[in-house]
């Protein structure tokens, strides 16, 4: 007998729905046959047989939700069935697990925003889609282009259903030609259209960075204000899970360095919906840095069709009196967890979610630091010339006399992202790092 296990089919998958069995007990299976279909929050995927033999027994019926990776889902027999799984010859170190679980739900400590009205739980993925759809319904000059955004429904399923609604002229699949299609979009924006350019991930925007910096960011200035580019560049930024050095880096400080760009980094679903709508309406080029791990996270989100958030305003996600923790994107999760842990130690932490990195909301930061007198910045990117460095400079400039301790920063380790599970974990900021940094203040 050979066990068939629930396979992991993506970098972040920990469980999935067994949507459909395509083989039944008694069927002969050949290597390469599709035996089942599995659904995750991202996609429906086919499971192919690796071994040959007869399907003896189905243990997890179709339609079962939340089947954990490596659960035995069926058994196979037959003379020519080779051993399915190799026996590890020696006890190996802990098997590789994704660095971050796929669906951690949000902490309960978030302060609901005044004036949100009715809310419902929504994933960041849905919120981004809704933001784009609402803006595209309202303005015929807004369109979406990028790799796999249309027929494939988005590499990370952000644009799911949008081709159906808006058609191929407004939801455009491009070849893998980032430099070319980005330049094309910027040109279209110079002539008055309002493109949303999706980068499959921001790592690939490096191919297009000249058009972003030299064309999109500078045209308004160079033309003496005659023409600019109303354009949004969006996509996942930062580390996902186990995708290595070329696919895991945070571009916040790269783009924030450049005048002529706005840089936004949402954390929650409300951030995603409200800020993306504002970014699309903003007459300037906006870099919109999403996070792949957050896509599947669900948050209470305003349902109102009028809900928009202002660019350039940070949000105090949790109030406190002893220390200010400043974070953006998924690092807000880390900051919130650290604040929970600090509360147990009797330290009251205030957490600021930056939302927009440039222009920076100095007022919210200064007000908070003047109250707490201590500050730590948290970012996933590298420390050198990072957002933390800017944050601390701003704090020193504006709150020097209020500080009780030198500002601290927590950042990703100053190395390219390693692939190995244990090393990747060591490279990314953890809540404990923040707690340790704060402890040094007292």
């Amino acid at each position: 007998m050979v066990d068939i296990l629930m396979p992991a089919l993506s970098p972040t998958m920990t469980e999935g729905k067994l949507a459909k069995w395509l083989k039944q007990p008694g069927d002969e299976i050949k290597s390469g046959d599709v035996i089942a279909e599995i659904e995750t929050d991202k996609a429906t995927m086919e499971v192919e047989a690796v071994d040959e033999g007869k399907l003896e027994e189905i243990l997890v019926p179709e339609g079962t939700e939340g089947v954990a990776v490596n659960t035995v889902i069926a058994r196979m027999g037959g003379e020519n069935a080779p051993a399915a799984q190799p026996d590890p010859p020696a006890p190996a170190p802990a098997p590789a697990t994704p660095a971050t679980p796929a669906a951690v739900h949000k902490t309960v400590t978030e302060i609901p925003e005044a004036g949100w009205g009715e809310t419902r739980p929504m994933t960041v993925r849905e919120a981004l889609r809704e933001a784009m759809a609402l803006e595209m319904r309202a303005d015929g000059d807004v369109f979406l282009m990028g790799e796999e955004v249309a027929q494939y429904q988005g590499a990370y399923k952000i644009s799911q259903g949008m081709l159906d609604e808006f058609g191929p002229k407004r939801v455009i699949d491009t070849p893998i030609t980032e430099h070319g299609f980005t330049g094309m979009a910027v040109g279209a924006a110079m002539n008055g259209l309002k493109p949303i350019v999706e980068f499959m991930t921001f790592n690939f925007a490096m191919q297009a960075v000249d058009q972003i910096i030299n064309s999109a960011a500078k045209t308004l200035y160079m033309s003496g204000g005659q023409m600019g580019a109303q354009i949004v560049f969006r996509g996942p930024n930062g580390a996902a899970a186990r995708v290595g050095a070329q696919h895991s880096q945070c571009y916040a400080s790269w783009y924030a360095h450049c005048p002529g760009l706005k840089v936004v980094a949402p954390w929650s679903a409300a951030d995603a919906k409200g800020l993306l709508r504002a970014a699309i309406r903003d007459p300037n080029p906006v870099i919109f840095l999403e996070n792949e791990i957050l896509y599947g996270h669900s948050f209470e989100c305003p349902v109102s069709e009028d809900f928009v958030l202002p660019l350039g305003k940070a949000k105090v996600e949790r109030e406190g009196t002893d220390v200010t923790i400043i974070a953006f994107s998924i690092m807000v999760d880390v900051a919130m967890k650290a604040a929970d842990a600090l509360a147990e130690l009797g330290v009251s932490a205030e957490v600021i979610n930056l939302r927009t990195i440039r222009p920076l909301d100095i007022e919210t930061i200064a007000t908070s630091v003047k109250k707490t007198s201590r500050v730590v910045s948290v970012e996933e990117g590298w420390p050198f010339a990072g957002i933390g460095a800017e944050m601390i400079a701003v704090v020193v400039e504006h709150c020097f006399d209020w500080l009780d301790a030198p500002p601290a920063r927590v950042a990703g380790i100053d190395v390219p992202m390693p692939y190995a599970a244990n090393l990747e974990k060591l490279a990314l900021p953890q809540p404990e790092w923040v707690v340790e940094a704060v402890k040094k203040f007292f």
Binding site: A8, S31, P175, H179, F204, R242, Y419, A420, L423
Partner: protein, 336 residues
């Protein structure tokens, strides 16, 4: 050093490009790649391999046929779909599999992963994650051969999706201008993730994509290792003779998803099954070997040997320890 070029050589008919012994060797390397990739897929499903993992199943004949045209000192560079290229270059399956599991015994000490492996010893220059980037790098490998005045050749592989990137054509211009010894190999497996070649390229014949620069080229049946060898020989000889680069478009097919997560909605199951059933490179080589007098029992023995090697690699990849935590900080800059 690579063998001296035979300038009088004309491309041979595919069937004559390998004798029985050579074909047998090619067949076992192709089989090694196939079984290795099946095992990698299995280990991924068990959570022992993570992140992106792009399998080469279906395309084995391309890299194996090309490897039979080159020798020591020639360079190979490719994309993230790189396991086959490494095995064909003679890299140790144990070290490759251990890199897939992120262990210290891997070619990059566990720090690179499936997409990023290298071997100076075997002339394998990676393993690159940014679509198209390796094409300029491969041109640079050719440049270094030209600069040093040796007769080595750079084999630069990329997908048909990558063939739309601008730097590919910048590279074509440079290499033709400077007569650099680069064989550009488009592995046209018809899809770039979920986008078919017809939906991504206005060029209907990718083998002609070097024409404006005067680059000679051929379209090749990439499911036939003999045809690959025959075409590869001509391309490599052209480069070694100092005549500049050569473009080969290999018509091939990937059987599995783009990477492990693939909704598989962009092509039909029948299309995949038909390719596997009617055009499989291993079936083709096997049939030819039988024609040449090999018996089934001998082939079965090869299969068993390959399976044992792959199992050994899988065992090693699981027992090799994780990298030491201190490895996080090494290899960022050359010290001293």
């Amino acid at each position: 050093m690579a063998a001296a070029p035979d300038k009088s050589r004309r491309p041979r008919k595919p069937a004559d490009s390998m004798d029985r012994d050579e074909l047998l060797k090619a067949y076992s390397t192709m089989l090694l790649i196939r079984r290795f990739e099946e095992k990698a897929g299995q280990l991924y499903g068990m959570g022992l391999i993570a992140g992106f993992c792009h399998l080469y199943i279906g395309q084995e004949a391309v890299v194996v046929g090309m490897q039979h045209c080159t020798g020591d000192g020639d360079e190979v560079i490719t994309s993230y779909r790189d396991h086959g290229h490494m095995l064909a270059a003679g890299m140790d399956p144990k070290g490759v599999m251990a890199e897939l599991t992120g262990r210290s015994g891997g070619y990059s000490k566990g720090k690179g992963g499936s997409m990023h492996m290298f071997s100076k010893e075997k002339g394998f220059f990676g393993g690159h994650g940014i679509v198209g980037a390796q094409v300029s790098l491969g041109t640079g490998l050719g440049f270094s051969n030209w600069y040093r005045g040796n007769d080595r050749v750079s084999l630069t592989y990329f997908g048909e999706g990558a063939a739309n990137q601008g730097q590919v054509y910048e590279s074509f211009n440079l290499s033709n201008l400077m007569k650099l010894p680069v064989v550009y190999i488009i592995e046209n497996n018809r899809y770039a993730m979920g986008t078919s070649v017809e939906r991504a390229s206005a060029s209907r014949d990718l083998s002609l994509n070097g024409v404006p620069w005067g680059m000679p080229s051929m379209a090749v049946d990439g499911m036939d290792v003999l045809a690959v060898k025959a075409a590869g020989e001509e391309a490599v000889a052209h480069c070694r003779a100092g005549k500049g680069p050569f473009l080969l478009e290999m018509k091939t097919y990937r059987y599995r998803g783009h990477s492990m997560s693939d909704p598989a909605k962009y092509r039909t199951r029948e299309e995949v099954q038909k390719m596997r059933a009617e055009h499989d490179s291993l079936d083709h080589a096997k049939a030819r070997l039988i024609e040449l007098g090999m018996d089934e029992a001998a082939l079965k023995k090869i299969d068993d040997g390959v399976k044992a090697r792959v199992q050994e690699a899988a065992d090693f990849a699981q027992s090799s320890p994780e990298p030491e935590p201190g490895e996080l900080y090494t290899d960022v800059l050359v010290e001293g």
